[in-house]
Symmetry: C2
Subunit: 350 residues, 2 copies
């Protein structure tokens, strides 16, 4: 008997067509050929996807649960994504809604408890900001980091646009910033980009600077490379950035909530409800629940006055990320960062 | 003065909001922060994206042309994708429609002329099929390859679901299949999957088997890794598979037509109009024109009776890929392949 795992798709369809449509997805995401052409009985019984359940969600959308064979995946999370949604992503009318993550893709991640231990922060939520805009020199970014750090933030991350540009090359920027914030309790999170060789080389540079938190973008770097990277550096907490996550073709509850932690990422950055992206409260709630023990990092246009509301919603196992809106304070960035840190600390003791 | 390149987005919006929306995208895809917080004049002038043109397309959609600074990209095609669409992909109402590919991402690809030279096929279109279903042993796949080859096909590719599964591991499957088709004029195209280390190791295995065509899935492996791979193996023609390409969030004319060749891929596989995916004739026409000199490989449910129509539409610089529908012939696969090869050859001489 073959081992299977369940995948849920949401399919726009009329009731008359949904059974054939569901069967079509089950075939597309497994053998990808007409079953009449399959002359091997074990392929039909053990490999072809199996439609297990179809539910009418009532608005012209159906929830379709399909069981795929674990044998089609091997140990490669890229191939996992390929079998979950590869060709079906090319269809307009299907969203990949959920999937059971196979045991082999459940790495032990330290997540929130590990970060609490490292930073000595027992109960309250964490604070973080982002170094930007890109185009500044490494020295200017380091100066900004120092001013954030002086305000008492827990984390300072590279903006996800910072890569290895001529104006702030990684190998120059990261040591400068790490040095600028040394002596503060803050964790600096550099962004790792490039091919797998570059990801590894840059992680090594960051480790040489004493850093133990780094950011990656799994949809750009490729799932297989991220898993290889997180396995190679088990002492590092990797923050997953959702860049290129696409809107809704893969539900963020799954992509950010389940798949990024499955690659070994111990923290997940996501656009919160009420910011400049469109996620709903329900999406954010499910995403965060799925991701645990990975640290939830809501972001995307958060302002200081929303701290109490957001902490009420997300609870303490959260890092609030306020980037651009702290920078609006310009030469009062340190004071604004301190106000942010105080607001979070105060909320924790209410 | 900063060097810029043009990017076109299609944005659903009302007329009153489109200017602010366009400006929002220009900021999101460059400095990603409120401009009032930017205190460096050169960043405002040289780095922030610039809205150049807005056209009302008339159906609640606007075409927005934004010029992004080349300096934000560096030499990394992953970062290119990040700046093209990273965060904006998270918005529901925006499609990445087109982009000028910077000179640094225009590798010299042999494409169709190179494949004509290698195969000694001067004018007619090429024929190809796919080895499937997955779940067969390597020996069974090799036997199928031999039967395709005996029918006179030009190319036989791994199905994109074939990776490194236990039932047909890459290092066993590829040598067996290469051996099974030796003596025929056919080119076998194995599928390379995994992280960058595995991509390179598998390419080396395939080269040791005398193969010079291989398939990759750039949206799964990551753009930076694919460019590194194609640079490392300049003697290989890489066929780009669109798996995880998503429907329409990045226009296929751009993603498959321009971006995949920019990674060094000399052939692009795409779902043709009239198959089981939804691309229009206009999309297919533009995609193919964009991709040249890369070989156009329409696929996705093609049947033998459509050969004349498809060749009339696509012209001879094409490889028609008929996978599952040849396999329906079961023990007459060789004869069906020969009929396919003859139909293409006949069309060329009409």
């Amino acid at each position: 008997m073959t081992e299977r795992f369940a995948v849920t798709y949401h399919v726009r369809s009329d009731a008359a067509s949904i059974e054939a449509r569901a069967q079509g997805i089950a075939v597309e995401q497994s053998v990808e050929m007409p079953l009449a052409g399959v002359d091997e009985p074990s392929v039909l019984s053990d490999i072809v996807g199996r439609v297990e359940q179809i539910d009418d969600l009532g608005d012209g959308t159906f929830s379709v649960r399909i069981e795929l064979a674990l044998a089609t995946i091997g140990d490669d999370p890229g191939q996992f994504l390929n079998m979950l949604f590869g060709n079906t992503s090319l269809h307009h009318d299907v969203i990949l809604r959920d999937a059971v993550i196979p045991e082999r893709f459940r790495p032990r991640i330290g997540g929130t408890p590990e970060l609490r231990r490292r930073l000595g922060v027992e109960r309250r939520a964490f604070t973080g900001s982002a170094l930007k805009p890109q185009g500044l020199t490494s020295a200017r970014l380091a100066d900004l980091a120092r001013r954030f750090a002086a305000g008492g933030l827990d984390f300072i991350k590279d903006d996800h646009g910072l890569a290895d540009q001529a104006y702030s090359p990684f190998a120059e920027r990261v040591p400068l910033i790490a040095k600028a914030v040394s002596g503060h309790a803050v964790r600096y999170i550099p962004s790792l980009t490039g091919d797998l060789d570059q990801l590894r080389a840059r992680a090594a540079i960051a480790i040489n600077c004493g850093l133990d938190c780094m950011m990656v973008a799994p949809m750009i770097s490729g799932f297989a490379n991220i898993l290889t990277l997180t396995r190679a550096f088990p002492q590092v907490t990797f923050f997953a950035h959702p860049s290129m996550g696409g809107a809704d073709r893969i539900a963020p509850e799954l992509l950010i909530g389940r798949l990024f932690p499955a690659l070994g990422c111990g923290a997940v950055i996501f656009p919160t409800y009420g910011g400049r992206f469109g996620y709903s409260q329900a999406t954010c709630r499910e995403l965060v629940a799925n991701a645990r023990p990975a640290l939830a990092v809501p972001a995307g246009g958060i302002t200081l006055n929303r701290v109490p509301e957001l902490l009420d919603f997300y609870g303490p196992d959260t890092m609030l990320l306020i980037g651009g809106n702290l920078l609006l304070a310009r030469d009062r960035v340190t004071e604004e960062s301190a106000a942010f840190a105080n607001a979070v600390a105060r909320h924790g003791t209410n």
